[in-house]
Symmetry: C2
Amino acid sequence: MASPVVGLLHPGEMGHTVGACAVAAGARVLWASEGRSEASRARAESAGLEDAGDVSALAGQCEWLVSVCPPHAAVETARLAIEHGFRGRYIDANAVSPATARAIESEVESAGASFVDGGIIGLPARVAGTTRLYLSGAAADEAAALFAAPLEAIAIKGGAGAASALKMSFAAWTKGTSALLMAIRALATSEGVDDALLAEWARSIPDLPGRSTGVMHATVPKAWRFVAEMHEISATFKDAGLPAGFHASAAEVYERLAKYKDAPQPPLPAEVLAALLRG
Amino acid sequence: MASPVVGLLHPGEMGHTVGACAVAAGARVLWASEGRSEASRARAESAGLEDAGDVSALAGQCEWLVSVCPPHAAVETARLAIEHGFRGRYIDANAVSPATARAIESEVESAGASFVDGGIIGLPARVAGTTRLYLSGAAADEAAALFAAPLEAIAIKGGAGAASALKMSFAAWTKGTSALLMAIRALATSEGVDDALLAEWARSIPDLPGRSTGVMHATVPKAWRFVAEMHEISATFKDAGLPAGFHASAAEVYERLAKYKDAPQPPLPAEVLAALLRG
């Protein structure tokens, strides 16, 4: 059996490790360097990806195309692939709502390609046990077979939308509570009771003082790309008839921190809290 | 020095243990049985409280009055005490926003009484280490001296509003995340990925499967009185210029569960999730 040919849009922090895990499983993995950064090229090379040049060349050569991008770019990325002639099997592995996943499915299938829904949970896949790629839809099992360790690719039941729903549900907790925790620290600071809150937490919920500071270090540099993800989660709740405000507010928290995207130094906690309070 | 005379409105689940801790500190503690339930009477007796009869008699005899009631009743309870002639020192120990606390302060002080802000964190005070009564305002230290173990009464700096802000910040996490967790389980159920979510959590956040079920048992019977508290927290965030949607949505979650207030049996998890999804 010939090696499958897999295209990757794009080799970012997470994406290039997903590509490397397809290489590890025996696939030829291509990417398209046109218009991408030097950092992307370095990541692609480290992952053993071949440069197809541009998206047209990529779309023409690949049986599979895997999209790993910030959620606000997911629909556009699928359209671009279709416009450049891709008619194979398209895996959207992004943090989008089930409705967005189904909308992408619809566009992809209208054009004569087929669709697999995906959702990645965990860190960039560098060591075993840290990263799952959930997949759902008709070709989910075949898609799962494209990847090897350290990534675990897991097909789940349910059609297009199930893998995205799982990702949304998971991130609703992790990124939702991170935003809430930072907002609470900002509230306590603005009311002059931050020290008293930390002292009370130290007694009754002892992991929270450290966690509430740690979360600032961990999420602030990535806040810019969490904004759209929170909106996708909020829409997922709304579509299910559940309250959408938790993640609408989480989006607002990350929006206020989005300016730290390219900060040379991560801001100190006091600056993060002030940025949240300035609105 | 004569024993201080402390009035308690009202000896509920939490309140009667607060009263018992004032008795333990040497105070005479009075309550007003008029219009209250048999359960209140039983609690008051178990706590060693004396029945003053009605609120007028209570207001006339007490130097201090402590209000421990559901947050939606906090303003009304203060007004009632004032209307019945109370002119001593009024401790509002309820889960209200700093703005609500200051509004109560204003009404109390306009009438010639004085005000101490309070906020209770923890369980009813039956054993050491479980319950703190935070106090702020001019007479916070004197107020703290009214109570003995197992309640810890802690004066914090800041005027009226600080103790309430601390309570709001604390409950913003505990009750906010409980509501979020139930909403996430409802979402996953509605999308058919609840089993997959529990399996993923079991690997990556191993306390969440049990916690997400435990929280249904723990909070559903009390949901009816969390609704107003979530609105108070939401208002606290809004007043500080922070996103108010986390707790507006938490209020909606508890609102959907408020009907279980007097349920003879707590509902099973599947019924809780269905109630959340029915809206």
